[in-house]
């Protein structure tokens, strides 16, 4: 036994696919009862590590151990003590929630005595009981992930392996998911997970930052941030989107990035840089900020410098206009008895970035499909790009660009063949097609890889290529349905830089997202819930006028253990995990009560009233619309 008492340990794991090294001599140890988070850019090797530990992938060299058992030689013992949740939905969509759970209970040989109680307990705990008899394929994204977690937990594993479990899941469901995870850890379970959400990574006891198949930093989130020596200056502008570009130009693209409603500048010399920033942006609020994993992540990103070249391409390749891009009234879509979209009215000018937010299954995609002319509306009328959507939906298609939620390029075609195909569809030929092809390859950053099979592309490149194909014909309105879902922070940021640039050259961009900081980059937002548009406005408006509650941030060790206690205080509406800490939502100021709560217990905690974040607004509005306050 070489595991040295760790719940999970990996010893010199190497895995190659052909000539590409996915994981390069990685060793890691996870203490029993810890949450270990693997983070890193797409293709860094996170999934490969998890698969090796789950015993379903044989490494080329090295060995992994779970609870002292070799993942290679003692597969049965390993499989009985772990639960693995793959990145793709791995359950059977034609089977009901209960049938799926029963299947996994039987496969793991869960003792029959008390099994029913165990399943009921899990269903209760995850609020899934009402959906017991629903087929898994008909669940929303968040519920699917919870079901997969229940199936993984049914045999009380000692180690839980999760591969990006919250991809494409809305903030409300994500909070719920984490509440369950914390409960498991409190019961002594060990969790090893990968995640693309860095606020989730902040909650882990240990994180491993992977890059090109190696772990380049490891430790608690605070340690990793501290060791990096990176300091951050936060710049809050008045909504001037061009400021990012200006700062990038002046200070170097790699260290300046937008995050939510702020611009963050990475620095090793706080004073000099602050002075320079004050000169560059005299209007803005400039202050030092706590460095986050997000900043560390950006500091290793290499694609960031490519920004400028790519962005300059947009202006020459966009088909921007001015005036009203889109105007719809009373747009409604029913599927049988079910109203997917109810009476939505919008007026959007050219050059605006318009965001759709909402839980999984709220009707965002349906709305986008109706606006694109892909799906006929049940009722309602409107004009998109000067074309009537009821009578001439076919004509709309040539005026718009659409990027669907699923990757829609042909995986068995080469990169340039996909571009040529879409060019052909939009009627481009000869010199024009050649010129647009070059443009697309540059935009996608694939000039040197145009002969690559599309199936070989990973993460950010796929999304950029899909976008390039969607805007080949210079549309003046672009619809992007969750374009950044599952992409790593660096690719997402580059993607948003492209969106900004498109909008700046007069193209209207409709975009849906589950990343709340991305919502901040939109000019206006619509919050959709159960087919209704429950709020619309600028991000700043939503955060102030629409937000009736106050948010108090609590930074404390082991935040999960205080959620119940804080929730019982008077005037506290809701307590939720936020990054590494808690956000407490209150009607009036409960700051004193919260401080007293921690003082009584003799626990050190930072308690501050803060401006609500987009996520707080989102959750608060959804709950209000749901009528489910506390």
């Amino acid at each position: 036994m070489k595991s040295g008492g760790y719940a999970v340990s990996a010893d010199g794991i190497t895995k190659r696919y052909g000539s590409a090294v996915a994981v390069d001599n990685v060793s890691l140890n996870v203490n029993s009862g810890a949450i270990y988070g693997l983070i890193g850019p797409d293709g860094a090797g996170k999934t490969t590590i998890l698969r090796v530990i789950a015993g379903i992938l044989k490494p080329d060299s090295g060995e992994a151990f779970v609870c002292g058992h070799s993942c290679e030689r003692e597969q049965i013992a390993v499989k009985n003590s772990i639960a693995y949740m793959s990145q793709k939905f791995g359950l059977y969509p034609d089977m009901t929630v209960q049938e799926n759970i029963r299947l996994y209970a039987d496969l793991y040989g869960v003792e029959k005595h008390g099994m029913r109680e165990r399943i009921d307990e899990l269903l209760d705990f995850s609020y899934m009981k009402p959906f017991k008899h629903r087929q898994a394929g008909k669940l929303s994204g968040g519920m699917k992930q919870k079901l997969q977690l229940i199936c993984a937990l049914v045999h009380k594993p000692e180690v839980l392996l999760l591969d990006e479990p919250t991809n494409g899941v809305d903030p409300v469901s994500r909070r719920d998911f984490w509440r369950i995870l914390y409960g498991l850890v409190a019961d002594g379970m060990t969790i090893l997970m990968s995640t693309a959400y860095l606020d989730e990574a902040e909650r882990c006891s240990v994180i491993g930052l992977m890059h090109k198949g190696k772990i380049i930093a490891e430790g608690s989130p605070e340690e990793v941030v501290r060791k990096s020596g990176i300091q951050v200056i936060s710049v809050k502008d008045g909504g001037d989107r061009s400021l990012v570009k200006k700062l990038k130009g002046a200070m170097g693209g790699g260290r300046v990035h937008a995050y939510g409603d702020r611009i963050r500048v990475l620095t090793h010399d706080m004073q000099t840089d602050t002075d320079e920033l004050k000169k560059l942006a005299p209007e803005a609020v400039i202050e030092p900020d706590r460095a986050m994993l997000e900043d560390i992540f950006m500091s290793i990103g290499e694609s960031a410098d490519a920004d400028e070249n790519i962005l300059s391409l947009i202006a020459e390749g966009a088909g921007g206009k001015s005036g009203t891009a889109l105007e719809v009234r009373g747009l409604t879509k029913r599927f049988g008895d079910f109203t997917a979209v109810n009476n939505i009215s919008l007026t959007v000018p050219y050059g605006e970035i318009f965001g759709f937010l909402g839980p999984n299954g709220a009707g965002k995609s349906t709305t986008i499909k109706m606006l694109c002319g892909l799906l006929p509306a049940t009722s309602g009328e409107g004009v998109v790009g000067g074309v009537d959507i009821v009578h001439k939906p076919e004509t709309i298609k040539s005026k718009i660009g659409y990027m669907s939620q699923k990757f829609s390029l042909y995986e068995d075609l080469r990169v340039y063949e996909n571009i040529d195909f879409y060019g052909g569809i939009y009627g481009l030929t000869g010199a024009e097609l050649a010129q647009r092809r070059d443009w697309s390859l540059k935009l996608a950053g694939l000039e040197d890889r145009k002969n690559l099979m599309t199936s070989e592309l990973v993460g950010g490149w796929r999304q950029r290529l899909a976008l390039a194909c969607a805007i080949l014909h210079k549309p003046s309105i672009v619809f992007l349905d969750e374009p950044t879902s599952g992409a790593d922070p660096a690719s997402r940021r580059l993607f948003w830089a492209i969106i900004n640039e498109l909008a700046a050259s007069g193209v209207t961009v409709f975009v849906s997202t589950h990343y709340m900081e991305e919502a901040e980059y939109c000019d206006r937002l619509a919050l959709i819930f159960r087919g209704d548009m429950i709020a619309m406005g600028k991000p700043s408006e939503l955060k102030t006028s629409q937000m009736q509650d106050r948010i108090i941030e609590v930074l404390v060790k082991d935040p999960f253990s205080h959620m119940d206690g804080l929730g019982k205080l008077d005037s506290v509406l809701d307590v939720s995990l936020f990054g590494a800490g808690l956000h407490v939502r209150t009607k009036d100021t409960a700051e004193t009560a919260i401080k007293e709560y921690f003082a009584e217990k003799g626990i050190r905690a930072e308690v501050n009233a803060i401006e609500a974040t987009m996520e707080d607004v989102f959750v608060s509005m959804i709950e209000r619309a749901d009528g489910g306050e506390k």
Binding site: R51, I56, I76, Y84, L91, D106, G109
Partner: protein, 374 residues
Amino acid sequence: MIFSPRRLKAMVIKEFIHIFRDWRSLFLAIAIPVMLILLFGYALNTDLKNIPTAVADLSDTPQSRELVSLFDGSAYFNVSSRAEGFDDMQRLMREKKALVGIIIKRDFAEKLLKGEHTEVQVLVDGSDANVGRTALNYVQALSTIYNIKLSAQALRTDGMNVNVLPRAWYNQGMVSTYMIVPGILAIVMAVIAAMLASVTVAREWETGTMEQLISTPVTRLELTFGKFIPLYCIGLADIITAIWLGRLVFGVPMRGNPALLFFVATLFLTGVLFFGLLLSINLKKQVLANQIALITGFLPTMILSGFVFTIANMPMPIQLLTYIFPARYFVSMLKSIYLKGVGLEIIYANFLFLCVYTLIMVVAANKRLKLRLN
């Protein structure tokens, strides 16, 4: 633990759920044998009845009339027109008024009475080769009957009392639908294997459920047999449907031992289902596995099993080819059991071949299944 009954049961239940929830596949699995029986039963019917026949009876004697009445009296020929001579006969056949022409020479009765050898000219329209060949066979059969009749009469005059009645064995009417049912059983099983078995593992790889499944303690045997058992049940239900339909609609009797039939069918079904699973396991792509199953499973069963085309009539290389397809052994055994009612002692060679094939498939499918990614 290599095998747990509980996990196997869980897999079986899961597979049954997939089959019952996917009602289109289920419907096809049940409708295909019914359709095949009806289609083949009616369309592949190579029996000819009431063939329009023209007669030029130049002899016009009691003997010649007896010969003609033998044709007219059979269910196969219908003497619909009379020709005056050879030219007239040619006209009738060219106009398709007759498919068969019989020319009886002027000296027919004369020679017959003298006990001399005589000939009757029979013309068959060969433009439809199948019809022509069948008609020719009937003509030959009838002339044999007539010859035997004559010989018998000759013997009787010598005081012998021999009553000769020619009979085709096992399939007295030589009804081709009798051959259909055993053949269809083989085809139905090949179709199920191609349609359901060949996609089932590949689908799990394509949708990503396999990655989750192989992270559990499930073993290879549980996985393959968990998929096999529900398909076997459907195959069995199809066999019963086919036998029952064959009996009800075409009156095809089942003469053999039902237990033996069941046993042999189980053996074949197991073989072809595991063949389908093997394809699915190796190819990991539903469409590809399905296509290959159709080409390597269904087509040979149809063409090389001796069901539609007689193996003895095939060129030698093709005949040799039939030996590598299990359908040959199965169809041959089925015909024996079904129509002749023979026992295992007669067909043991075929039986052994089938056993070997099935064993190879079960072992290969389990060996090839890797509970790993890559």
